[in-house]
């Protein structure tokens, strides 16, 4: 009886896990299969769409890489991501350290305040920001994105780093200061090496958040050569009303997978930031 129940519950778990995985991954399977299907196979409504009815091809892949601006979008995305990472680190690391060392509730409250600005959505800010961008003369340039992206990376990363710095006991830097280090010296020589994993997390998240960003990039960049991957693929691989599905699917799949791997790897830290210490 007990055994039967166990088998029953196990197969229920397995079955539901299967359906959830199917739901989550099917669009990506769909991209994968379209990437390698011949056009004739892709566009015959009576062919079984789940299988290859004709031999696979890499025509779409080579078209994506050599006949579109895909590599340029990749390059733009990396460039914007790298600069935003540097800006975020320069601003967020000192701020987070400082907030984590303030006594009393002030640091904590200011930290929550900064984190909450992460929730102010792009769709509320893009209209006034379009004015600010033309004021700085950054219209249609990647500089606009570099200026704006820290609006969401700084709040989030400051909050994440605050948690990290708090877990480093104050005694360590006080000890260093008694040993003749200045306060700034203690911070640079003692605290930063101890928080490498936190800083690495921040680098990964800043990078993935900028790769995910769509709304600002759509609003402020319309020149093809300046687009980032998240906007370039959905807007540029469509010619008028003609969707070039093969290259389009390849272009959607290729950047998704590495970003997803990086993100998953660091996800636990992301979640502990989100739950704001509600889970300990």
């Amino acid at each position: 009886m007990g055994k039967l129940k166990k088998i029953y519950s196990k197969s229920f778990l397995g079955l539901s896990a299967f359906f959830f995985i199917l739901f989550s991954t099917f669009p990506f399977y769909w991209m994968l299969i379209a990437t390698f299907k011949r056009d004739h196979d892709l566009f015959s409504p009576n062919n079984n769409p789940f299988l290859f009815n004709e031999p696979a091809t890499i025509k779409h892949l080579s078209e994506l890489l050599f006949n579109t601006l895909f590599l340029k979008y990749m390059f733009n995305t990396f460039w914007v991501g790298t600069v935003v990472v540097v800006i975020t680190l320069i601003i967020a690391v000192p701020a987070a350290y400082c907030l984590s060392r303030w006594s009393g509730k002030t640091g904590e409250n200011l930290g929550i305040g900064i984190f909450l600005t992460y929730l102010v959505p792009p769709t509320l800010l893009f209209i006034p920001l379009s004015r600010i961008i033309s004021f700085f003369g950054l219209h249609e340039s990647l500089g606009a994105l570099i200026l704006i992206y820290p609006t969401f990376t700084i709040p989030f990363c400051t909050w994440l780093l605050m948690g990290f710095f708090k877990s480093i006991p104050k005694d360590i830097e006080e000890q260093a200061m008694i040993d003749g280090c200045s306060r700034l010296g203690a911070m640079i020589k003692i605290i930063f090496p101890l928080s490498i994993s936190g800083i690495l997390t921040v680098i990964v998240f800043t990078f993935t958040l900028t790769m995910h960003e769509f709304i600002y990039a759509l609003s402020f960049i319309s020149v093809s050569a300046h687009k980032t991957i998240s906007v370039g693929v959905p807007t540029e691989l469509v010619r008028g009303d003609v969707f070039r599905w093969g290259p389009l699917m390849a272009g959607a799949l290729i950047p998704s997978i590495p970003v997803a791997i990086l993100y998953t790897f660091f996800l636990d830290r992301f979640i502990s930031g989100f739950t704001m210490g509600a889970v300990k």
């Binding site: 892709l42 000192p94 701020a95 350290y97 609006t151 769509f214 998953t264 509600a278």
Partner: protein
Amino acid sequence: MLRQDIKRMLTKNWMDNKKLLSAIMITPAILYILIMVGLPLILAIFYSFSDATTGSSDFKFIGLQNFRDILEDPIFRKSLMNTFIFTFSSQIIVLILSNILAMVLAANYRGKWIVRFLILLPWTAPISLGTIGWLWMLDSIFSPFDWILRYMGLLGTQNALLGNMSNMYWLGEPVYAMASVILVHIWRILPLSTVILMAGLSSIPHDLMEAASIDGAGFFRTFFKIKIPLLIPIMSISLLFGFVFTFTDMTVVYVLTRGGPIHSTQVLSSWAFLKGIEAGDLAHGAAIALFLLPLLACVVILILKLARRTEVT
């Protein structure tokens, strides 16, 4: 005595002046946020009372005229409605599904990391690219769903249950298009919600569950009497984030339907984008986007309350 000497010695140098140092360290962050988030927020409110356009740089205040205009606009009212429909229906379903999925994933089995990676894909991959996959799946001619329906004989023959047309036109029919947008939102938020819940589940003390099972409490009893009450704070947090991300998003709508057919899937943010950015009517666009603010304010207050409450316990 000695300690004070050391202290005085230390504060001589600017590198040791705690107040100065912390001011230098915190100011850039605060300044940046004030200029790039605070100022635009105030500007958005200003614009909504003005007649600003992208064309000219001068503008004058015209009071509540913009709000009167947009409230009379049936498309605006439709998008306000849709925003609420999409957000509430998707988040209710996510709440139910994430509880089930968290339970499924909590079990121990081999290859757990790959399952986790696959389940998380919709959240970890860029949403505009994931939605492109859905666009192809919901294609008017080559949709695999239509193929399955035809294969089962439910579509495309005389007397078939869903009609004799060979396709469903998922994104061409208002009701189906709305359902598609909701489905993609569920698909995207479910993984986030689930991992937040799992973080909560793992914090429930093991003894508690053991004690309950020794006392003879069954699966549903432990679920409703122990897990749910203990998980309420964390569930509310995941729900609040889900709300914010769905309520303010325009990526899914923009990529799937651009608000169509005939504005039937238009939402506040996509309508603000079309008006304010594409048509260059900053004033009306800002007024439309401003309707996002009250709900956001409520969410922020709730999050703060939750954060307080969890601190006390």
